[in-house]
């Protein structure tokens, strides 16, 4: 079917098989490969993107379901001048990543979390990111990054 999705503010329209998953549409059709495929079973969160501003796991959404809607991926966060989004900047400054595979999903989930809860506690960050797995960091610096991005003092 013909699917038209506004990806990072840019309309992407393509004839794709009905069974195309959103994550494949983003990677293969839109050519945006920040969104990773990790577990492919709705568990790990590596494929997290924003669908109409809310975090979703794009391996468990059909491209057809996002037809006519707006999707934001990690590529869409930075400003037009290339300035990093506050969450991206905080992940860099707080060393919130090691191998980086979970990072695009982790950052999109964090952006969504902060939209709902602009000043979360460390516990609320941990609960809010329960759908994103990181096998490197032990999460500590990820939590610090989200706290930093929220404009709060990072208390280690």
């Amino acid at each position: 079917m013909k699917v038209s999705i506004e990806v990072n503010g840019r309309p992407v329209t393509e004839e794709v098989p009905d069974r195309t998953l959103l994550v494949h549409f983003l990677r293969d059709t839109a050519g945006l490969t920040a969104t990773n495929i990790g577990c492919d079973t709705t568990s790990c969160g590596a494929c997290t993107v924003l669908l109409d501003g809310e975090s979703v796991k794009s391996c468990t959404v059909l491209a057809a379901q996002a037809d006519g809607h707006a999707v934001t991926t990690a590529e869409g966060l930075a400003g037009p001048d290339g300035a990093l989004h506050p969450v991206q900047q905080a992940f860099r400054e707080q060393h919130g990543l090691q191998c980086g595979f979970c990072t695009p999903g982790m950052i999109m989930a964090s952006v969504s979390l902060l939209a709902d809860n602009p000043k979360p506690t460390r516990d609320e960050v941990r609960a809010g990111l329960e759908g994103n797995l990181c096998r490197c960091t032990g999460y500590h610096n990820i939590v610090s990054a989200v706290i930093d991005a929220s404009g709060q003092e990072v208390d280690r």
């Binding site: 079917m1 098989p17 009905d18 069974r19 195309t20 998953l21 494949h24 492919d40 079973t41 709705t42 568990s43 969160g45 997290t48 669908l51 809310e54 975090s55 979703v56 796991k57 468990t60 959404v61 059909l62 057809a64 379901q65 037809d67 989930a109 969504s112 979390l113 609960a127 809010g128 329960e130 759908g131 994103n132």
Partner: protein
């Protein structure tokens, strides 16, 4: 993993959905949030010929009071339910359980109707609607029928829904003033419960204690005849046949059911 091929059809009203279901018969599955169905299709455990996407059917997205009932549109998502003011005031168990399903991403997509129709005994919502004494409203070519939650879960992933019927609404008696509690035990934060217990008043629903979502009838009977919480909770696993798996044996699950029932009753 990608699903087997299917024909995708999107509808925007209940009538349109029913018309598609009537013409496709057994060959169609209804797609709501897709968080039970799409994983099954990716594993090729389900391979429908037609997928009828009811995502845009806004008339099924609501929570409101209707007399003594709280009525919930089948397409209401967990994230909507977990913060709905009407639900929080009049059926707080369902709001609380909705907030604990899966993770934030899952709750942005998954719907109450999708979970109930999927009828997985490991899911939280079926036990919660059992404890809430809910009635499920189903619409089909012959009109509407109301099915008590206690008669809705017939077997593993099996409900009385005909292929031509759609679950449209969940009706719950107002729980104002009734105590409630919900406890579940998971291996990891986002996992299905090894065992879960939902309590409203004197009713107790069990998650993952058999092939179908159950009520803890021995516990309920004991409570009704004046037993203490400890005495009633000790009977929580009576008459159940929980799955026996390497990470959670049947005996361990019976133990969990007793402990979690005691905790949930104490909270309630």
């Amino acid at each position: 993993m990608i699903p087997a091929e299917f024909r995708y059809e999107r509808v925007s009203t209940v009538d349109e959905a029913l018309a598609r279901l009537a013409s496709h018969g057994d060959d169609a599955k209804v797609l709501a949030g897709g968080h039970s169905l799409l994983p099954l299709m990716k594993l090729r455990l389900a391979a429908p010929e037609y997928l009828v996407d009811i995502g845009p059917v806004d008339e099924l997205r609501y929570v409101r009071l209707d007399g003594d009932d709280v009525v919930i549109g089948a397409l209401s998502r967990y994230s909507d339910l977990s913060r709905d003011p009407v639900l929080l005031e009049h059926a707080p168990l369902l709001a609380h359980v909705s907030a604990s399903v899966g993770d934030r991403q899952v709750r942005h997509r998954g719907t109450i109707g999708g979970s109930l129709v999927h009828a997985d005994s490991a899911a939280d919502l079926p036990a919660a609607v059992l404890a809430s004494d809910a009635v499920l409203v189903v619409r089909g070519p012959a009109g509407e029928r109301r099915i008590p939650a206690a008669e809705f879960f017939l077997g593993p992933f099996t409900t009385p829904l005909e292929p031509s019927e759609l679950l449209i609404e969940v009706r719950v008696p107002r729980q104002t003033g009734l105590g409630w509690g919900f406890e579940k035990f998971t291996r990891r934060a986002i996992d299905w419960a090894m065992v879960g217990v939902a309590v409203v008043g004197g009713r107790v629903g069990l998650v993952n204690m058999g092939g179908v979502p159950l009520r803890a009838s021995a516990t309920e009977a004991a409570l009704a005849s004046g037993a203490s919480i400890a005495e009633a909770a000790a009977l929580a696993a009576d008459g159940t046949n929980p799955p026996d798996e390497p990470h959670a044996t049947a005996e361990y699950r019976r133990h969990l059911a007793r402990v979690l029932t005691r905790r949930a009753l104490t909270t309630a």
